[in-house]
Symmetry: C2
Subunit: 406 residues, 2 copies
Amino acid sequence: MHKGLIVQKFGGSSVANVARIQNVARRVVSYKKKGCALVVVVSALGDTTDELIELANKINPEPSEREMDMLLSTGEQISVALLAMAIHKLGFEAISFTGAQVGIITDTSHTRARIIKINADKIKEELRKGRIVIVAGFQGVTLNQDITTLGRGGSDLTAVALAKELEASACEIYTDVEGIYTTDPRIEPKARKIAQITYEEMLEMASLGAQVMQARSIEVAKKFNVPIHVRSSFSEKPGTLIIKEVKRMEDVVVTGVTLNRNEAKFTICNVPDRPGVAAKIFKELSSGGINVDMIVQNVSHTRQTDISFTVNKTNTAKTMRIVKQAASKIGAGDILEDRDIARVSVVGVGMKSHPGVAATMFGALAKNKINIEMISTSDISISCIIQKKFAQEAVRALHEKFGLAK
Amino acid sequence: MHKGLIVQKFGGSSVANVARIQNVARRVVSYKKKGCALVVVVSALGDTTDELIELANKINPEPSEREMDMLLSTGEQISVALLAMAIHKLGFEAISFTGAQVGIITDTSHTRARIIKINADKIKEELRKGRIVIVAGFQGVTLNQDITTLGRGGSDLTAVALAKELEASACEIYTDVEGIYTTDPRIEPKARKIAQITYEEMLEMASLGAQVMQARSIEVAKKFNVPIHVRSSFSEKPGTLIIKEVKRMEDVVVTGVTLNRNEAKFTICNVPDRPGVAAKIFKELSSGGINVDMIVQNVSHTRQTDISFTVNKTNTAKTMRIVKQAASKIGAGDILEDRDIARVSVVGVGMKSHPGVAATMFGALAKNKINIEMISTSDISISCIIQKKFAQEAVRALHEKFGLAK
């Protein structure tokens, strides 16, 4: 471990304008003054990435992924150059690099590339010179020198991967909220900042709707045991530590409540109850590029059953087309689509050793007269599909029931 | 020479918005349909470069040149990606590259780098695959992988250098005017498009105020004898050919009239007429980074003389400071500054073999009661400094006198 080396990542909202870039520069320099060695990863300014995507779509609604990466990678390149200039203005040495320049080598899966290796020699050399090293997040380069990007939220991955490669003593993810909360504070004002959370819980929360950090970057942090500190770039307060194991004073069963309103539910009625029939349907969806989330099939007492599943709302038209074809092939009945649903989930490693969490959850919802339409569980989470109009009420009820309030 | 290979360069105004990018795509594809192999060099969209410079200056009024290049090179990277997408939309294969990716190797003089060599293997490989190759203009990379830019108008240089390296059969510079004119059509509506012009004349016109092409790129074209076709991206009409030697039907003495209103005149009075005194003044200016343009010193009949010179208007304050110090050291008198001047010039290789051009020029100005304040001549040009209020009248009078009108 490189004692005193910190990797800091600043998201788009932290560098959205000149004043915020100057704010980031001051914060970085304040750590430099304390004697830290610094590698700073930056995202594109504010909504730059969305604006570039919009521009591209005007020219070609199905742009080549290679060219899309060529286009989008400019956003972070602008950020790093401006941050370097802002740091120079404060009288400190800094040097900016693109992903290609610091040897972030990826595979060739444009727009969602995976990092193969990092040749960190250049960064190490600049750190030895005492410089603050600024690296464009979200991007890499193939062995053939084509520019790639790492997918939405990819700057988090850049930061975690660099922290691992450089054996940094800390990886700080700066954002516009103060850390990870027990639930979305816009829904439940009593939501509390979580001081420490495990990788496992964070992964579950990210996949169930919490949007603070990219899930892939947490996976990498977990794999290499890189401690992450999620905190606000507008405040000095400590945020949330994401680490391997959390020693909690009390027995915490549920760590957080999440909500996802971006899913739609499909039900295929009267599916013949024979082996391989469900497989057929979901194979068709998968070859159509549709990611199916929750799947529920009840035990049948006749020779037919109903199968329900959820998909992201952006895919409903395509899903309906594929399912209709598949259903007619296998001789199933009607297909129902419901876009007015929400998934509410409770997450916590404590569940592993505390039975009865599901019963408590179902009870709390029942007490509020909220009907549960589908249930799915994992080792450390329980999710219920309910009608969307009850979503906020459900979140608040569960937050209260599991004692997460301030 | 690669028969049928054309290098086309499109300036910022040609790709200023989505519709114009689509227009460029259609034009490029129309050449591809004719069976040409194409390398397309593109500048940044519209005023992108100026906007980025402004942003940088807000953050740091004296930005590091390395970081400036990092920032500005994104402009062309955006253009090439969007143009590739627009060409794909028309059903043709195209691939975009940054200067670094196609191996445009430069020295380390950031913001005004010089091309050392081009490793064109990647371009050749893509051309063999039948693809349209799109290259970001204005930029290169050092051997240490730092991004560099080639100075204002550097995309012209990229195009000319690639045309030379690839032995292209043509190098077309597309712009928002139809070619090189006998003088600025905004000043003299009778200005005529010049069909052919020599490198020498074009260089002289560029250095005297004509702004269509970057002077350095013409120098390179001249050195390697790369024929250039300057033409409009909004019209199919032929533009102006810039070539080594022009066979003209008639004896043309003057090819064009140029005007430069961006200079200021300084006069140092009563300079002691001793060897080395003038040298001292101009050495100080040169070490201060001031580029002096025209210098005039009259023969003196006493032991004192007046020295006049012109500099770019942006440098007047600094020039005055340096000249004041120098003048007091050498014991010279007052210093006069005049910002209300203009330089009007006539250019033409025909002058070499036709005496009397100066007399004709002075006569035409005298006839219009325009006083000449300074005169300077080269092999193929004559320039006069006059009062700015007479500038347009002078241009029109000379344009008429030398028979350049339509």
